[in-house]
Symmetry: C2
Subunit: 149 residues, 2 copies
């Protein structure tokens, strides 16, 4: 590939975000950690990803501060991967992807997993974009202003 282009210097936050987690596996790894998988082997088995690729991804995500290693919670000498605050900030990205997938990528009647509020076991609401004063916005009511702040 002659070295994949880097987007880390862009002044578009979307490009920078994708520079960190926009590759083929990172968001799935992060989803798995949100879902309670913390050990290398658990994630590797769940995703079916090559171990070398998983090791490289985990290393990259650690270096970039999305996740970190911690001593295993089961008392053994192994370590496990947990999300940092920055990593937990990706929750809404994953929720948005999930809701888009649910809406457009399943046939009627086809089963899929569901994100629920743990306490009530009820499905969460659809994400909505709001204006600064609380009105609902659609994509055609917004625009991107270059180089602000």
């Amino acid at each position: 590939m002659v070295k994949r282009l880097s987007l880390g210097e862009e002044n578009c936050p979307v490009a920078r975000a994708l520079d960190v987690i926009g590759d083929w596996w990172s968001l799935l790894i992060i989803r798995d950690i949100f879902d309670g998988l913390h050990r290398f082997g658990e994630i590797q088995e769940n995703l079916g990803v090559a171990k070398g690729v998983l090791a490289a991804r985990l290393r990259n995500l650690s270096e970039r501060g999305v996740l970190e290693t911690a001593p295993a919670s089961d008392g053994t000498a192994y370590s496990e991967y947990v999300l940092t605050k920055k990593g937990r900030g990706l929750f809404l990205v994953i929720v948005a992807l999930r809701q888009w997938g649910e809406a457009y990528l399943y046939e009627r009647g086809e089963k899929h997993s569901l994100l629920v509020e743990t306490a009530t076991n009820r499905k969460v609401a659809a994400l909505q974009l709001m204006s600064s004063d609380g009105r609902e916005l659609t994509c055609d009511k917004t625009s991107v202003q270059k180089l602000a702040k």
Copy 2:
């Protein structure tokens, strides 16, 4: 790579979504179209992506119903790329990525573009996850239920 693994059959909506738009360029292309770039040349120049890669991505996104070609709005015989309803559904994914990028990937004082409500020119509000009855939820109050409905 011995053929990249496909995630299209997964029953996790996040995985299916990433199967469609989880590669290195698709979301940036879609962002560009949201930002008003509709012609091949505009997108190619803005992203700096190889033309062959862009052509392949546009073809793939068309086949999957995320975007489609339409006659050029400037009257010439060329065509342009526009988002379908399914494609416009990705707006919140891009907003979520943008807000994460803004929050975690810029130094204090570093400039970046801004998403505003066009009519008022005011910054949009941060996305929030809500329960079915309108309470704010954080990631630790939710869980994924396998194989529902």
